[in-house]
């Protein structure tokens, strides 16, 4: 990877594996000899809340945070959360979003808007024409581990950007995930990479 710092933003719903994804990227970066800072807000949003992870990777990184318009890479694990955080992507940034919709309780109750998948996809395309969508959960299910949707997305993004070496990602996965999830997660990662080429 070049000398510059890569800013990665992960938008997810608590429980989807967004934090695990940020840990895997961080572990992969360190396996590659790079430095890393992530900014997580754990706790309240542990389950079903809105979760945002900042990940910064490079040869010299000292702050875990960045602002709107500064993400080089954007990974959305859910459409509404992707829309909430899309202003973080910089011009020319790369964004990959899972075609997963988890409406918040406020939408189901009718006290907040209830956008459809199509509307959200359209809105996201308007915000960033180059955005890519992938049915990550479906792909992960085919591999036999629906929780590995995060690794499908990582593979997809890495296929587009080439930010980390495959062996570093494998090291990151085996460092962070439970042993029994490692094999399917690695397969999910490579499946994501393949999809990026299509």
């Amino acid at each position: 990877m070049a000398q510059k710092v890569l800013n990665i933003l992960i938008a997810s719903v608590g429980g989807q594996g967004g934090l695990t994804l940020s840990r895997v990227i961080a572990a992969a970066a360190v396996a590659e000899g790079l430095r890393v800072r992530t900014g997580e807000t754990l706790g309240m949003a542990q389950r079903f809340g809105s979760v945002m992870s900042f990940v910064r990777v490079g040869e010299e990184v000292t702050s875990p945070l960045f602002g709107h318009g500064e993400a080089d890479v954007f990974i959305g694990m859910e459409l509404i959360e992707a829309l909430r955080r899309i202003p973080y992507v910089r011009k020319g940034g790369v964004a990959v979003v899972a075609l997963t919709l988890k409406p918040p309780v406020s939408s189901s109750l009718g006290i907040a808007p209830r956008p459809s998948k199509e509307e959200l996809v359209k809105e996201l395309r308007r915000a960033l024409p180059s955005i890519r969508f992938v049915d990550a959960v479906e792909e992960a299910k085919k591999i036999g581990n629906y929780r590995a949707a995060n690794m499908v997305l990582l593979g997809y993004v890495n296929g587009l950007v080439g930010m980390l070496k495959d062996e570093s990602v494998e090291a990151g996965i085996s460092a962070i995930l439970r042993p029994k999830a490692v094999e399917t997660s690695i397969r999910a990662y490579y499946r994501g990479k393949e999809l990026a080429k299509e």
């Binding site: 719903v13 608590g14 429980g15 940020s22 840990r23 961080a26 572990a27 970066a29 360190v30 790079l34 430095r35 890393v36 800072r37 992530t38 900014g39 997580e40 807000t41 754990l42 706790g43 309240m44 949003a45 542990q46 389950r47 079903f48 809340g49 809105s50 990184v61 000292t62 702050s63 875990p64 945070l65 960045f66 602002g67 709107h68 509404i80 959360e81 829309l83 909430r84 202003p87 988890k102 409406p103 918040p104 309780v105 406020s106 939408s107 189901s108 109750l109 009718g110 006290i111 907040a112 808007p113 209830r114 956008p115 809105e123 629906y146 085996s174 460092a175 962070i176 995930l177 439970r178």
Partner: protein
């Protein structure tokens, strides 16, 4: 939390590089400092220190590591260990320092023998804390040294530094961090492990350890002030303060603000970086005054970068008051006094001080997405308890929306959101019972309810209950007993027969405790049996005096993890009339409205509690066994 795979955080050799969360790095720091007693009470963002020590079985390395019933008890255990020569650590979030304030302040007079580290995590934002409390003032109030790391690797090193400082000064030392250090993953390089230092002797010395209003407390006060002067010298000797660069524009930073500053200087380019001298205060109390005068006395302007309150700015203004140096920061509005600092804020403040353009931070664009306040999880038994409360009160003839419900600290506070809108207050640990009692004592005539979780009850609710029982206050107390400290990531409670380390424990049962206090009307019911729970509330609320309903069902997330999910629920679209009863009664996040306007269930999120089916008037929700 999963293990860091091939890297054993506690046993990996020196020189190992790993990506660790700040709190995991602090757990490694425990191993590198010879600490033998670690205790605390869970609180975000501090909990992962002890959780990491548990996950990697620190007890097998000769370290006592257990949660305590609350922060003051935790501190007193660590303090007792420490005056016997053992090296110890206690961990807590910022409000926990308030709970432990009494013994911490007295410990500054008694002092320690074995090093004692008080780890306190502040939360600018605040992300998961009641207030944006700045614990640095607490160090000054107590008269204790406080050090504050910039990142996870320094957090690891500062555990060792805190122990050394503590033993050199014979004072407890506060290791203070913030969310962006505790919950940041950074690259960490391991140092040497040190054998745990246990009991080394305890001599009777009443002048040190008896605080009963004796004249010798004045001597101890004088001793403390002398130790703090020594601390100022040690801060310089041990490199806990440092400076780099030169110029008559100076910037002082602390904690994560130093990381933001480095990036901001890089982005502003050499022309700015070359004009700026940077001073880093790793020790924030006491302020090393001589060093500050030497390093900053020649500066024309000093910009102070910090979060939560202008603690450093005010301190530096006092030290530099007789010089021509102009100190500025939060008080002048150059950086925000609410919420956390970002690299953009730092760059804007630098530009403003240097008289360059680019001095403002744009407000973040309007959020277009529907809001997602954290809900109670699918299957959460607290949801059932709140529904039982509402319907039980109604059946007893009260208007549920007119009965004040005092909440407490824990997951169940999330019941504040629609559709449950179940609580009126959430204040501080244990306050539900005493505040509800206060409303009655103040003259409120209708029924009042206090809702408190099991762990919060053990932590501080017990004394409130004693008070309410003793004064014969009319009060319904609902103890939501999910047998775990859920919100902070599933820690043990005093009800457990075996702790995380496998230690055999004597379970302290809430029902027995409540009866022993003298509560006459005690009910225990499983809120998953919703109709029975409603009847119990209906009966209990009519009884005189304090009555306690223990709603007993394990945390749904924990239960699903331990037992697995055997069945889920599914909507039969042909039967669903879109009446929305299921959604409006439960507010379960596994329910959603599909594009045909009918309800569906996200089966991977459903834990099979069946509450939605119970409230479907059309039997449109069916149980499906999982293969």
């Amino acid at each position: 939390m999963g293990k860091i795979g091939r890297v054993d955080v506690l046993r990996a050799p020196p020189g190992t590089r790993a990506a660790l969360l700040g709190n995991e790095a602090i757990a490694r720091g425990v191993i590198e400092s010879g600490i033998s007693v670690v205790t605390g009470y869970p609180g975000t963002p501090s909990s992962e220190v002890i959780m990491t020590l548990h996950a990697y079985r620190a007890h097998e390395l000769g370290i006592y590591v257990e949660w305590a019933v609350n922060e003051r008890v935790a501190f007193e255990i660590a303090y007792g260990a420490s005056i016997g020569g053992a090296r110890s650590m206690v961990t807590m979030k910022a409000p926990g320092a308030n709970v432990a304030a009494d013994p911490i302040v007295s410990a500054a007079y008694g002092g320690v023998e074995g090093g004692l580290v008080i780890y306190i995590a502040d939360d600018p934002g605040p992300h998961t804390t009641q207030t944006e409390q700045d614990t640095r003032w607490f160090a000054r109030m107590a008269g204790l040294p406080m050090i504050s790391p910039v990142d996870p690797d320094e957090a690891r090193k500062f555990v060792r530094a805190a122990i050394e400082l503590s033993e050199a000064l014979k004072l407890p030392v506060i290791l203070r961090s913030t969310t962006r250090v505790s919950h940041t993953v950074g690259d960490v390089v391991f140092g040497e492990a040190v054998e745990p230092v246990r009991y080394r002797g305890f001599k009777k010395d009443v002048k040190r350890f008896v605080r009963a209003g004796m004249s010798w407390n004045r001597e101890r006060h004088a001793w403390l002030l002398g130790q703090l002067r020594k601390a100022e010298e040690l801060a310089v000797e041990k490199g806990l303060v440092s400076s780099e660069g030169s110029g008559d524009y100076c910037v002082v930073c602390e904690g994560v603000a130093c990381g933001h500053l480095r990036e901001a200087l890089k982005s502003l380019g050499e022309s700015v970086a070359d004009r700026v001298k940077v001073a880093r205060l790793g020790m924030v109390h006491p302020i090393p005054r001589e060093w500050v005068r030497r390093e900053l006395g020649g500066c024309r302007k000093v910009l102070v970068l910090e979060e939560l309150s202008p603690y450093l700015e005010i301190s530096l203004k006092a030290v530099l008051h007789s010089t021509d140096t102009e100190v500025m920061g939060m008080e002048e509005g150059l950086i925000p006094s609410v919420g956390e600092l970002s690299p953009a804020h730092v760059a804007a403040a630098l530009n403003s001080v240097l008289g360059r353009s680019g001095g403002s931070v744009e407000a973040e664009a309007q959020d277009k997405a529907p809001p997602r306040p954290p809900p109670l999880c699918p299957g959460c038994p607290h949801r059932n308890s709140f529904i039982a409360l509402r319907f039980g009160l109604a059946k007893a003839g009260y208007s549920p929306t007119k009965v004040p419900v005092f909440g407490d600290i824990g997951c169940y506070a999330l019941g504040v959101s629609p559709p449950l809108e179940a609580i009126w207050t959430e204040h501080s640990m244990g306050a539900s019972i005493s505040m509800a009692a206060g409303l009655k004592i103040g003259g409120f005539e209708g029924p009042v309810v206090a809702v408190i979780g099991d762990s919060t009850f053990y932590h501080a609710g017990l004394q409130s209950l004693i008070e309410a029982v003793h004064k014969r206050v009319d009060l319904l107390v609902m103890i939501l007993d999910n047998d775990i400290i859920a919100m902070t990531g599933h820690q043990s409670t005093p009800a457990w027969a075996r702790t995380e380390t496998g230690r055999e424990a004597r379970p302290v049962r809430i029902e027995e405790v409540v009866k022993a206090i003298g509560v006459e009307h005690v009910y225990v019911v499983d809120p998953y049996d919703i109709d029975k729970a409603i009847e119990v509330v209906k009966e209990a609320v009519k009884k005189p005096g304090v009555k306690v309903v223990i709603m007993k069902h394990p945390c749904a997330l924990w239960e699903a993890r331990v037992k697995g999910v055997k069945a889920v629920y599914r909507v039969v679209p042909e039967k669903c009339t879109s009446c929305m009863a299921c959604v409006r009664v439960t507010g379960c996040p596994a329910l959603y409205v599909a594009e045909d306007g009918k309800v569906r269930i996200m089966e991977e999120d459903c834990t099979g509690c069946g509450l939605c089916a119970r409230y479907c008037p059309y039997d449109a929700i069916i149980r499906v066994e999982r293969g």
